[in-house]
């Protein structure tokens, strides 16, 4: 397909911005924009033009915890690159200090125990103020670490199963059952670590004891957390 055709490019950009360009075509256009200035300029023009439709909506004030959650995520993310990029020593102490303050305030003292080889994947909870599980992985995604905040209230007929949700419509992949308290570390299979690396989100479903009998979630999905991009 010749994307350079002006009319076609304009219409692809317009339908992308409106949202009616879906699935693989949507992803293709995103990739095109990352390499083509005319495509990303066309997208920018339509974003500008149509933004007035978004401004018609009456504002909704977010609850206070939303901003605190953002601060927490930014503090955690600032910590990871601070270790990796040794070339940026000038801001490293500052970033490390900021990350420590963020961690101390928001994640609790127990997380200050460093686990150098791990990186945060997501925090799952009823909302950002009530985290239930913190999910981390090793850099190569072959190991999964789970930290439980407090104890999970559930009856004996329930277990909580963790799923990696790929962003492309493929079915969820089980990452195993979640602990009801304390910490857990587990080695993932090849398929699980691939799924974890590709996941856009992790989800928790309620399953019978021992986990889903079918290999796919059978009970309600109670939590979904976006995977942090590093």
């Amino acid at each position: 397909m010749n994307y350079q055709g002006d009319e076609l490019l304009e219409m692809l950009a317009a339908e992308y911005v409106v949202g009616t360009l879906v699935g693989a075509a949507r992803r293709r256009f995103e990739r095109l924009c990352s390499v083509s200035v005319p495509a990303s300029a066309a997208r920018g023009r339509w974003e500008d033009r149509l933004a007035v439709l978004a401004l018609q909506l009456a504002p909704i004030q977010p609850r206070e915890q939303v901003w605190r959650g953002i601060q927490e995520i930014i503090a955690v993310q600032t910590r990871a690159p601070a270790r990796a990029r040794s070339g940026r020593r000038r801001w490293l102490p500052l970033a490390a200090a900021a990350a420590l303050v963020g961690l101390a305030v928001w994640l609790g003292p127990r997380l200050l125990t460093t686990r150098p080889a791990t990186q945060a994947v997501t925090v799952l909870g009823a909302d950002t103020q009530h985290p239930q599980w913190r999910i981390e992985r090793s850099a190569d995604a072959r190991r999964l670490m789970v930290l439980t905040f407090g104890a999970v209230s559930a009856n004996a007929q329930q277990s909580f199963e963790l799923w990696a949700l790929p962003g492309d419509g493929k079915p969820p992949v089980s990452l195993g059952l979640l602990p009801r308290q304390g910490e857990l570390a587990r080695v993932l299979s090849e398929a699980q670590s691939m799924a974890l690396l590709a996941a856009e989100k992790l989800a928790v479903s309620i399953e019978p004891p021992g986990g889903s009998p079918t290999g796919a979630p059978t009970g309600p999905v109670i939590m979904v957390g976006a995977v942090k991009t590093s």
């Binding site: 949202g19 920018g44 401004l55 977010p62 939303v66 930014i74 801001w91 950002t128």
Partner: protein, 185 residues
Amino acid sequence: MSVPEPSSDELEQLLARCAAQDSAALEKLYQRVAAQLLAVVTRIVRRRDLAEDALQDVFVRIWQQARQYDQIRGRPLAWMISIARYRAIDMLRGQRRVVSLDDGDMPMQLIADGASDPVEESSITHNALQRCLEILTAGQQRCLVLAYQQGLSHEAVAASVGHPLGTVKSWIRRGLQSLRRCLES
């Protein structure tokens, strides 16, 4: 309806400070635009808790991508609105896949809600888009606004307005073509 739009200059300066890792600038940006962005994502994902999760992601992305903001991407508010809409649309489409595993828990009644939603009047009267929208047919206008504001696919718009899929696709396409001609004239 809408708060006064923050000035592009101010938002650009705040984005530049975010690019330099100034988190106070992100907080200020949040105070300026978070409520508008929450309105945008809530209309699409239809659930307050999911919308606030999406809003968090949106601000983390703004923080991470502030360095890449460029005027080629349009006005800064439009750029941020786009980040919010795309995040919400991804969440809506991803969430439907998750939820479809569990039919009892469909969180949103898009179709019923959409059908009764009037096309709202804009508070921004001097806008070229608004003027150009008025030259569209009622059907084109309604389908376009539904798709944009609610993140609906062609199929969902068709179900919402009760017209065949082919008709809706062509209304949206022709509506966009007319808008472009009007805006560029």
